[in-house]
Amino acid sequence: MATLIRKDAGEIFRNRLSLVVTVLIVIILPLWFSLMPSQVEETLLLGVYAPGLERIFDRMNATDEALQVSLYNDTNALKVDVENGDIMAGVVLPADFVQTLIRGEKPQVDLYFPSVVPEESRGPIKALLEELSFIITGQILPVLLDVRVVGEDYAGRQLPFRDQAKPLWITLVLLVEIVAMAYLIIEEKQTGAIFALLVTPATTGQIFAAKLMVGTALASVETLLVITLMGSIAKGTVALLINVLLGALLATGFAFLVATPARDLKSSFSWLMIPYVVLMVPPMTVIYPQAASWVVKLLPSYYLADSFDKVLNRGMGLAGVWANLVILAIFDVAIVGAGVHVLRRKFE
């Protein structure tokens, strides 16, 4: 077994394709991650020119975290900032704003938007300002609004997109190993080397067990390396390690399944794309839950990505993800079992 394992490990690093795939992923993904924005802008920035009414807007700044009002003394400066996109909207109140209101007339307020704010977003901002005008004029809201937050409130500490997408990136790393491992097996088939192995004292069980170990170990190490380079290794270590291991087993099992029908490396292309694309859908719905349907929960990568999300983004430990891990383990047994079975049938 040790000989077989050494051989397979060596082959991976001698196979240029597997090596390139492996090395590039480990370098490029963390690099890409580091380049993406690490902050989330949750605040609406408004600029206001309202001579004599500054106290009203100061109070707004004090009470509402989501709104930041910058007061301007000069309309030109306000317009420049609007045009540059430094603020989302600029409001210029006329000098006789209050007097016009007292007279029972509607004052004309100039509202400036930068062209980079999409038209769809202008309506809600205008609605916000209209609501402010109702409040200023003392008109009470005709409903009793009961506002609550469901679940843990992340306001002020939202995850930037790059972190929300971590389950996606990490699952991608694991699934890419399907490609690398499958290529290795296909190449052995193509060159006939696997048949040479089969006529040695090594049993088919030993041959495939060695591949399973090497594939799983490589995928695990690679994934942990990527997670480390993303700065996330300290979180929920035990749960994370188990999830990575189960994911690596899953990838290797799938590699066995797709490598079996492929005749050569070129014809393997379509075989590889199918599971790859299908398995990448659930991780995306972890980021975009609005796109999720019950179907994604039938795929093993859902539990993999969901566990990464819970551990890395929501600080959960083993207790929070054990159910996912159990389901993933069941999938692993099925996929790996099926993969080994079809490979053995092919070569025995």
């Binding site: 240029r16 390139v20 795939v21 590039l24 993406m36 924005p37 989330v40 802008e41 949750e42 605040t43 609406l44 989501a66 709104l67 317009k79 609007v82 045009e83 509607k106 004309q108 100039d110 400036y112 938007f113 062209s115 704010v117 999409p118 038209e119 202008r122 309506g123 809600p124 901002i125 205008k126 609605a127 916000l128 300002l129 209209e130 609501e131 005008s133 008109q139 809201l141 409903v143 009793l144 609004l145 009961d146 609550r148 469901v150 679940g151 843990e152 992340y154 306001a155 002020g156 939202q158 997109f161 290529y183 190449e187 490396l265 070129k266 014809s267 379509s270 995306m284 609005q290 796109a291």
Partner: protein, 353 residues
């Protein structure tokens, strides 16, 4: 160069290619990239605020909310399903409207409106949702806004939602898959199967052989890109006429790179490995453009920037020739250099191909 010979080799490549999954993938790549990347990236970045609604009384407010711009809505059948959606951040917020909400509102009886926010919704979205709702409720109750707004838009740079920012990425992907990958694979496969030796002892010149691979890759790149334009709504004759020079040069760039790799690499395994690596270099500018948080000047170091940036400016921002002619000149120089390099390599290696 005899067109008859080039045509024969191209016809053979198409016939053989239709029996290859990779060739089929290249053929359908415009659809795949448009659909998959559009689906993936369509929701990237800050999406518009979303509101879940449970309406037990067929309220008019629901129609008003749905007609207002800037707010995505989703109807839930029960409060429990709404809460579940909020917990999963499927929607930013949710409201539950009682059976007699409309009647109570119109009668001035101050009906209750439960407004729930997902813990993971952005504060700015909460503000927008809450104020949009209260504005609509006031309107329904007959309250008129005490101010009138004169709206002016300043600046000329257009706001691009992510769904549109990703379109140049799709174009580049299609050009590269068809132009670069198809050309290089066509050459490498023939070297791998040693059929290039068989062709070398026929009257076919190496220039005709390489020319046929390049021509097929080029035509496929142009056809696939035009199809992608149509699929992504870029059909205005004005835009298309401005875009064509960049398409022609972009295709030439892709094919030249394809020839270089086809001549340098010995087998398709190496090519696929290299393709994965070079893809990052080729697509880096597209990714920089996709995420404005990354310093945009970084993209200018990559040659493909001079393909996709003008495409984006023309098709998305309505730019004219005056805004993109410098990019055209740079791209022309890049293509000339790469094409010269590919010709040099073919000439140098023709006996060992």
């Amino acid at each position: 160069m005899r067109l008859r010979i080039i045509g024969s080799i191209m016809a053979k490549d198409v016939r053989q290619g239709l029996r290859s999954s990779i060739f089929i993938f290249v053929l359908v790549s415009p659809f795949i990239y448009t659909f998959v990347i559009g689906m993936i990236f369509g929701g990237f970045g800050q999406h518009e605020p979303s509101l879940g609604i449970v309406d037990t009384g067929d309220s008019e407010l629901v129609a008003m909310i749905r007609n207002s711009k800037g707010l995505a809505t989703r109807i839930y059948s029960s409060e429990s399903s709404l809460i579940s959606g909020l917990e999963n951040n499927a929607v930013d917020a949710g409201i539950v409207l009682g059976a007699d909400f409309d009647e109570a509102l119109l009668q001035g009886r101050l009906p209750q409106m439960a407004l729930r926010f997902s813990g993971r919704s952005y504060a700015s979205n909460r503000l927008i949702i809450q104020n949009t709702l209260t504005r609509l409720v006031r309107e329904m109750a007959g309250q008129e806004a005490p101010v009138a707004f004169n709206v002016t838009v300043l600046g000329s740079e257009k706001a691009l939602p992510m769904r549109e920012r990703v379109i140049p990425f799709i174009f580049l992907a299609v050009i590269m898959v068809s132009g670069f990958f198809l050309t290089s694979l066509g050459i490498v496969e023939e070297r791998e199967e040693r059929t290039i030796s068989a062709i070398s002892v026929t009257p076919v010149a190496i220039s005709e052989f390489i020319g046929s691979k390049a021509m097929l890759g080029y035509l496929m790149a142009l056809a696939a890109t035009m199809l992608t334009f149509v699929m992504n709504g870029v059909t205005s004759p004005r835009y298309l006429s401005l875009l064509m020079p960049f398409l022609f040069l972009g295709g030439a760039f892709a094919v030249s790179i394809g020839i270089i790799f086809g001549v340098l690499l010995d087998n398709s395994t190496e090519l696929m490995g290299m393709a994965k690596g070079i893809n990052f270099l080729l697509f880096a500018p597209a990714l920089v453009i996709l995420f404005p948080g990354i310093p945009q000047w970084v993209a200018k170091f990559f040659p493909t920037y001079y393909i996709i940036y003008p495409i984006m400016q023309i098709s998305m921002m309505g730019a004219g020739w005056a805004e993109v002619w410098t990019h055209f000149v740079v791209l022309l120089a890049i293509v000339a250099a790469v094409a010269a390099a590919s010709l040099y390599l073919v000439n140098r290696k023709k006996h060992s191909l």
